[in-house]
Chain length 435, copies 2
């Protein structure tokens, strides 16, 4: 085959981009893992990683001794140069902001949270967040000069397309808050691209990504002041046609149930939100005013608490099972602080989903048998309060421009390949895909 | 900027591939539409289309006079050379096989269907299908020498990843049928790549694609002998973790309902399948044995038929609304012959979905108001019995290799760019994405 130096350089450059992308998305990996992930031969890959190591774009972090099964010589793990950039995930909850900062090798280098008053206005929340960011800088010795991107979770529906800077609608006339405000405030402060999305959805993404292996199809529900959810389908976070996907809290469970704030009756939120569960306990004669009270009742194995929680969890299970019939996820995750206090919630929801997925008797129906064999696992969330911030970080890791700021080895024909590349993005986030 | 002929040729080649891809996926388009779709300037695009026209890869089919709004000079519409290839969509129903053949400009050049006995074995179905294909060849003067791909819909769950030739499981020990059989039989017969998927899912894809504009997020349910469904999320057909997505028929609607063949009680299928609806009519005192009988009762505005149909449709609406809360689709489509006979089904399901999505009173909840404003449109399927075959065709259009069989203008540096391209696929389908 004839040699075409310009083309070869372009091909090599493409390979480099793919290596860097997989490391940005997945953190430290062995050469074998990288070769498998992007479908290159070990030989070709070694050339590519050799060049990237030499130029300092990637580094050897450790060996896979701690991660591997079986025997054999431990292999080196490679990662992006940790110093090559930082990534920030921020989650604005109703009462608290969380911030996590990671380096380019996916190591969390700083994290913290700070409270603000319930339903305080957005300028105040931003102020608390920026002071927290400053404090983390002092505390952990982190400087934000190399910040490559910021992911931000906000409560409530987010109708802007994630990652796109064109915000079609206002959040709420009541507090004068504009969705673009958060984005712009962070963008101006750090000069880095910003992604904004609903924080429950980002928590779903975090649960899909920060496990032993990434989950391609996952359904997530969070029981909190309200009930929200998120879906990962085919490895991508689902937004829906108007950015409103994941509203599991307003699926009707009992048509003649209690009135919901949305105007319907018997929505899942009227049964399985924390306030609804506490109210149901009180109605049953158990005087609980807070999650702490409920935790104490659970610790005493109080049968009223158990009954109320099982009823709520069965309702959650029925809604999850219906959506799982449509989507066939491999995992269903239930999050929220109450899930950690009351393991019975996941137990009962899991039993309900299993019943709804499995035929109760061996079935003559091939389809039912298949569904039974592939029913989703139901589990409690692995992550805790920083799930939204970690999800925001994951969203950024999956959408950042690559190779920015690295010296290139001169291509044999000069700057040829460069001329063929699109102009590098230095601000604004690629395409909003969270994959 | 310095000139690098090899690289420039590669860039041009990439642009050509994108132009051909958008034409393959969307059929005839004006130059402006192509430029918008792939983000090229009109000037660059004109160079690309000029070269493709000159080489015969694309042709001018007509003008957009029939499609455009407003005044102005009609623009030419370009399409792939119709003679450059054919694409076949096949749908194996329970009692009938449908075949459609299109040329590369998306023009349907042949279509037909043939019956076989209910639940006949697969070798017989294949035999009927191949004879139909031969007959269409004679009837329409179609020769299959340029067949570029075959899409095939089969009833029941399809657990192979669409487009991937590795079939992990057998279909059913009972009839000795292996899912790979259909694929292999067509592949051997026509020497073309084959895609197989569940035919209800393919119908969902067809409804999403063959409308005035493509729908990115669509939820589809079909009421027939059973109840099945399909989902398009973010422009992609959803398979789920085990290829079982879309099983809307086995969502529980009434926990104390009639036994379902799956082993549960009160599944949607026990209420809204055609046999279930006929049985409910009979139980209510209306002696109907077939869809024809039911159609006659509907024509007489029989109140019992109306009541049974409304009850069934309300159940369909509740299931659709629950899944729509999770996915936020812009359209919900109800298919199946009974939907055409009984418009009340779509009317009632639409009313139920609207109620479940809209708060019944102006709501203080921003989220509810948003959801209300973005509730999905519920409509009857546009397509009829050939929907599965058309969906199979759509799946093929979206996954075929491009530029096959076209002469290239020699690149300035010789065969340079070619050396950089991956080997062209002549068999086996790209990546299973239906996007």
């Amino acid at each position: 085959m004839q040699s075409y130096p310009g083309v070869q350089a372009l091909v090599r450059r493409t390979h480099e981009e793919r290596v860097l992308q997989v490391l940005r998305e997945q953190g430290a990996l062995s050469r074998n893992q990288i070769a498998r992930a992007i479908g290159l031969s070990r030989t070709t890959l070694s050339e590519i990683t050799g060049s990237l190591l030499q130029r300092g774009a990637i580094v050897v972090t450790d060996t896979d001794a701690a991660h591997r099964e079986g025997s054999g010589r431990p292999a080196e793990r490679l990662a992006l140069d940790p110093a090559s950039g930082q990534f920030m995930g921020v989650d604005f909850g109703h009462r608290r902001v969380h911030v996590v900062v990671a380096d380019a090798s996916h190591e969390i280098v700083a994290s913290g949270s700070d409270r603000y008053a319930d339903h305080v206005d957005w300028p105040t929340r931003l102020d608390v967040a920026f002071r927290l960011v400053e404090r983390l800088s002092d505390q952990y010795g982190v400087h934000y000069g190399a910040l490559q991107g910021v992911g931000i979770g906000i409560p409530g529906p987010y109708s802007g397309k994630p990652g796109v800077r064109d915000y079609p609608s206002h959040r709420s006339a009541a507090d004068g808050f504009h969705e673009a405000s958060v984005d712009e405030a962070f963008g101006e402060r750090f000069g880095a691209p910003v992604i904004v999305d609903n924080n429950t959805r980002l928590a779903a993404l975090a649960e899909a990504i920060f496990g032993e292996k990434a989950i391609e199809n996952l359904l997530y529900v969070r029981l909190s002041d309200g009930v929200g959810g998120g879906l990962v389908v085919g490895g991508r976070l689902v937004s829906g046609s108007a950015g409103l996907a994941g509203e599991l809290g307003h699926v009707t469970v009992t048509a003649d149930g209690s009135p919901c704030r949305c105007g319907k009756n018997g929505c899942l939120e009227t049964i399985a939100s924390v306030p609804a569960i506490l109210a149901a306990c009180r109605a049953a004669g158990l005087p609980v005013e807070s999650l702490d009270d409920l935790a104490a009742a659970i610790a005493r194995s109080h049968p009223l608490a158990d009954r109320v929680l099982r009823d709520a969890a069965a309702a959650v299970g029925r809604v999850l099972a219906a959506v799982a019939m449509a989507l066939n996820p491999s995992e269903i995750v239930i999050g929220g602080e109450i899930t950690r206090l009351a393991p019975v919630i996941v137990q009962q929801a899991s039993a309900t989903v299993a019943y709804e997925s499995f035929p109760s008797t061996p079935s003559p129906d091939v389809r039912a048998t298949r569904l039974a064999a592939h029913a989703a696992d139901v589990r409690a969330a692995h992550l805790a309060d920083d799930d939204g911030a970690l999800g925001a970080l994951a969203a950024v890791f999956h959408s950042s421009p690559l190779l920015a700021g690295y010296p290139e080895t001169p291509a044999p024909t000069g700057a040829g390949p460069r001329a063929a590349m699109p102009p590098r993005q230095t601000r604004g986030v690629a395409d909003g895909r969270h994959q």
